[in-house]
């Protein structure tokens, strides 16, 4: 993306568009990846409530998957899961780059 000069940008660092934080993929910041155990999970949705990055995708009141493109690996979901269904696994254990980040 070509960066704009000082005459082309809104004053004061304002962002005049809503919801564009999504365009910024923060998944590459992650050092630990949350992995959910489908068998243990009771779909109580607490992790979905607590995730500060809205990175837990829910469909029809059931956890579907993590959005690894944005999940920063903070581990909050894992820490608060009442049945310990989420394990934080070191990123180096995965060699694929396609899931999350660059």
């Amino acid at each position: 993306m070509k960066e704009k000069n000082w005459k082309e940008i809104p004053l004061g660092g304002l962002i005049l568009e809503a919801g564009n934080a999504e365009e910024y993929e923060t998944g590459s910041w992650r050092t630990y990846r949350p992995i959910r155990n489908e068998e243990k999970c009771t779909h109580c949705l607490l992790c979905w409530v607590y995730c500060p990055d809205s990175s837990i995708i829910v469909e029809e009141a059931k956890i579907k998957e993590f959005d690894y493109g944005h999940c920063k690996g903070c581990g909050i979901c894992s820490a608060q899961c009442p049945v310990n269904a989420i394990e934080m696994v070191e990123e180096t254990k995965f060699n694929s780059k396609k899931e999350g980040g660059e």
Binding site: E3, K4, N5, W6, I9, P10, L11, G12, G13, L14, I15, L16, E17, A18
Partner: protein, 393 residues
């Protein structure tokens, strides 16, 4: 027709603020600013303003609340002094960088320590790089006039920067003078309405204030601030003229007092300019070509205009009511001397630090300065670059 009242600097600041009737006024009291907030809160209690007054727990919060209010489209004001300004320091920079036209009277007081509540300019001079417009006032009338004009200047579309209007602690803030007050309606018409094109409360046009701004764009945003500051001078002149049309008192970037053909010139800001004028009058009667350049706008600094009036003088003395420790001289001196650098023929410029912590300055001291200037003009030699007035050596 307006009216003529006897008011102190603090009272007249509050009176101007009553007429401006800001939407939000968060404030925290500090000597010698306290009377402004005290008087204004009385206006709130008496229902004379529709302002939402927020009794915050510190100046840091006062400026933060101003930012929230201003970003939401409200006209926001506060007032402070010295250590209060120091406590809101961080937020002052943020107000300027978000381009929020907050207006604030600043009652000049020495910064601690040792603790002192009296006048000097160390507070405002310290904030000179914060991105705020600074207008200095000589007396109670100017406090009133400057505050009303500051609203128009700050909110002007090509500017959108916060502005502080200074008044010397106690010397102006607590001294009663005759002041001409405009009609409420006239002030209202003059300042118009504040319209923030990017209000946080405009849900149809959502906006984010204060996102992270790193090496990719921060520099560009600072360049925008520089550009805005460069445009302020013209706006100050325009608003000063228009204000003259409704009040009979027009304003410029500075006041040129007896500068026509003046050989010996003192540069000063604030109440001391009044004392200098008395001495200039006395000297002129004796045939000495003395003059005064009174600084009104210090930020932006009107370099061109100052060079024009100073370049033909024979000797110039800059009076600074604050110190820049370790620098070549006081802040005003540094600017003036540097402004003249490009001129082939330029007068010698000396500096006098005076009045720190409220130390009185009188006619005798100013006379000494003009005497020294006379000597410098005759001998073409500057013996001492920086001197101290009224200090026990």
């Amino acid at each position: 027709m307006g009216k003529i009242l006897g008011l102190t600097g603090d009272e007249v600041a509050a009176e101007a603020m009553r007429q401006i009737n800001p939407d939000v006024l968060p404030a925290y009291p500090i000597t010698p600013q306290t009377e402004i907030v005290q008087k204004f809160s009385q206006f709130v209690a008496d229902g004379l303003v529709s302002t939402e007054m927020v009794r915050v727990e510190s100046e840091h919060s006062a400026m933060s609340a101003c930012i929230g209010a201003s970003a939401s489209g409200a006209r926001a004001m506060t007032a402070t002094s010295a250590n209060g300004l120091a406590l809101m320091w961080e937020i002052c920079y943020i107000a300027a960088s978000y381009r929020l036209p907050i207006v604030m009277p600043l009652v000049n007081r020495a910064l601690s320590g040792p603790i002192n509540i009296h006048c000097d300019h160390s507070d405002s001079m310290g904030a000179r790089d914060s991105g705020w417009i600074q207008l200095y006032s000589e007396n109670c009338q100017e406090v009133y006039d400057n505050l009303i004009q500051a609203i128009r200047i700050a909110e002007s579309e090509e500017v959108l920067l916060p502005a502080m209007v200074t008044l010397d602690g106690f010397i102006i803030s607590h001294a009663m003078e005759r002041v001409e007050i405009l009609e409420d309606e006239e002030v209202k018409r003059f300042i118009g309405e504040y319209r923030n094109p990017h209000s946080l409360l405009d849900i149809n046009n959502p906006v984010t204030y204060g996102p992270l701004d790193l090496y990719d764009y921060y520099f560009e945003h600072k360049r925008q601030q520089i550009e805005a500051m460069e445009k302020v001078g013209k706006v100050i002149e325009k608003v000063g003229k228009e204000f003259g049309e409704i009040s009979g008192r027009s304003y410029d970037l500075m006041e040129r007092y007896q500068l026509e053909g003046a050989d010996l010139v003192i540069v000063a800001a604030g109440s001391t300019a009044g004392t200098v004028k008395t001495v200039v009058n006395q000297l002129r009667e004796k045939g000495v070509k003395a003059g005064l350049l009174k600084i009104r706008a210090f930020r932006p600094f009107p370099t061109e205009e100052i060079v024009q009036v100073l370049k033909n003088a024979e000797a110039v003395a800059v009076l600074d009511r604050s110190v820049s420790f370790g620098a070549q001289g006081g802040p005003l001196f540094l600017e003036i001397r540097s402004a003249l650098f490009e001129e082939k023929k330029r007068p010698p410029v000396v500096n006098y630090i005076y009045g720190l912590g409220g130390r009185d300055i009188g006619i005798e001291e100013i006379e000494t300065v003009y005497k020294n200037l006379e000597r410098i003009a005759d001998s073409k030699k500057t013996e001492e670059l920086v001197g101290y007035l009224g200090l026990r050596e």
